[in-house]
């Protein structure tokens, strides 16, 4: 009986859960997800431990909810990438800037821990990245068809973006080189679109 009523409460208040998990992001960033301490987390959120358990049955559920929540908002990058109100290059710039910043939150949490402790949640992220790459491939193909881009391999272009995203997860690297996400992103963007060479030297391939 008690179990039943619990489930009812759990399914009802989605907004409340969203709010808590959003508020808990800085907590995850500080303490990670390896050893979530329910008491500390409750204290941090200013609610009782009992209340948390009313809404989440396990720590795993909390982590999964947090990741899903984040991915739900990252999804919007597709909307920006295909927002035809924006300039062609602007679409990429704004979409990927948004994507990297959002994904960075997840990476702060966890990436490595997720892989190890909650592989099923990690698969969600991995699938999500695959879908993002498909969107990018479509964007590049569009750009080549419209003549904005030179004709190169769209799949490789998307793959390179993914590798770059992984680099952004590497906090040690960023700190060591005194880089921020946005600095690194701007560099990536400029070189990818305009190239490294100072004044355009006519390009020739043998």
């Amino acid at each position: 009986m008690g179990r039943k009523s619990l489930n009812k409460t759990r399914s009802s208040d989605l907004e409340k859960r969203k709010k808590w998990i959003n508020n808990a992001m800085p907590y995850f960033q500080e303490y990670g997800i390896r050893e979530i301490n329910m008491e500390k987390m409750a204290e941090y959120l200013g609610i009782s431990k009992g209340t948390i358990y009313n809404h989440f049955s396990s720590k795993g559920e909390i982590v999964e909810f947090a990741v899903r929540l984040k991915m739900d908002s990252i999804k919007d990058f597709h909307k920006i990438l295909f927002d035809y109100q924006l300039g062609f290059v602007e679409r990429y710039y704004k979409a990927i800037q948004y994507y990297t910043q959002q994904l960075y939150d997840i990476s702060l949490l966890i990436i490595d821990d997720l892989k190890e402790l909650y592989p099923e949640v990690w698969i969600l992220i991995s699938n999500f990245q695959d879908a993002a790459m498909k969107g990018l491939v479509r964007y590049y193909e569009e750009g080549m068809a419209s003549g904005n881009f030179v004709k190169v391999n769209p799949k490789l272009l998307a793959r390179e973006d993914r590798l770059f995203f992984e680099l952004l997860f590497n906090q040690k690297f960023l700190i060591k080189n005194n880089l921020t996400i946005s600095k690194a992103f701007n560099d990536h963007f400029k070189i990818k679109f305009n190239g490294l060479i100072e004044s355009k030297i006519p390009f020739e391939l043998e």
């Binding site: 300039g87 062609f88 290059v89 602007e90 710039y93 704004k94 590049y140 750009g143 003549g147 904005n148 881009f149 030179v150 190169v152 391999n153 799949k155 490789l156 272009l157 793959r159 390179e160 590798l163 770059f164 992984e166 680099l167 690297f173 080189n177 880089l179 600095k183 690194a184 701007n186 560099d187 990536h188 400029k190 070189i191 990818k192 679109f193 305009n194 190239g195 490294l196 060479i197 100072e198 355009k200 030297i201 390009f203 391939l205």
Partner: protein, 212 residues
């Protein structure tokens, strides 16, 4: 004791033959990996007698080390090209790194991982080599920026790490196979986009980048 001594002498007798074997071993490792590596099986597969192998090498580890060292020496030829001042600055990169990529393409991530796990001492050599490649590239970009070939607001560290990521992609042969991309094509792609950008030259980007 006596026998041992004469073996030692034989080992140094013919460097040329030793190197010829080493080249074949490297190719063998590229195809078969070094995990569960059996001397008898390799000797049989290559049609060399085990005794011949032992005339030149004293252990499995020594064989693998010789093969890897040989490969690293070949790859390191890229340096001469990268530093060849008779070539235009961008050509130096293109020629050197094309050679580099074709060479490293043979060495799969799988083989590298096996070496890392089973032969940490040999792995150190590989790791140092990789680090030096990064340093070479970083200084190539730094000088390029200094002499005005490259844009001054770019970051040499990011530029070299970007290359490293690309090399990793090549070593992960599955990705290229999946997409049916040849190593030469992949390199040309990388070079072209990196140096000249993705935008068609007739397309004016300056008006398109949103202000920060």
């Amino acid at each position: 004791m006596m026998g041992r001594k004469s073996t030692e002498r034989d080992r140094y007798k013919d460097r040329e033959i030793k190197e010829k074997h080493t080249v074949r071993f490297m190719v063998y490792f590229q195809n078969n990996g070094v995990e569960n590596f059996s001397m008898s099986k390799m000797a049989k597969d290559l049609g060399i007698s085990k005794t011949t192998i032992y005339n030149h090498f004293s252990s499995k580890e020594e064989i693998i080390e010789a093969a890897i060292t040989y490969k690293l020496n070949v790859i390191s030829e890229y340096q001469t090209v990268l530093e060849n001042i008779t070539l235009p600055y961008t050509e130096r990169y293109r020629k050197a790194m094309l050679f580099f990529c074709v060479q490293i393409f043979d060495v799969s991530n799988k083989l590298l991982l096996q070496i890392k796990e089973s032969y940490p001492k040999i792995w150190i050599k590989v790791a140092i080599f990789q680090k030096n490649v990064m340093l070479d590239l970083k200084s190539y970009y730094e000088i390029g920026i200094e002499i005005g070939v490259f844009k001054s607001d770019t970051n040499p560290v990011l530029l070299s790490v970007d290359d490293q990521k690309f090399f990793d992609l090549l070593s992960n042969q599955a990705v290229l196979k999946e997409n049916n991309i040849e190593v030469l094509e992949a390199f040309n792609h990388h070079y072209r986009v990196k140096f000249n950008g993705l935008l068609d030259p007739s397309f004016e980007i300056l008006n398109q980048i949103p202000k920060q």
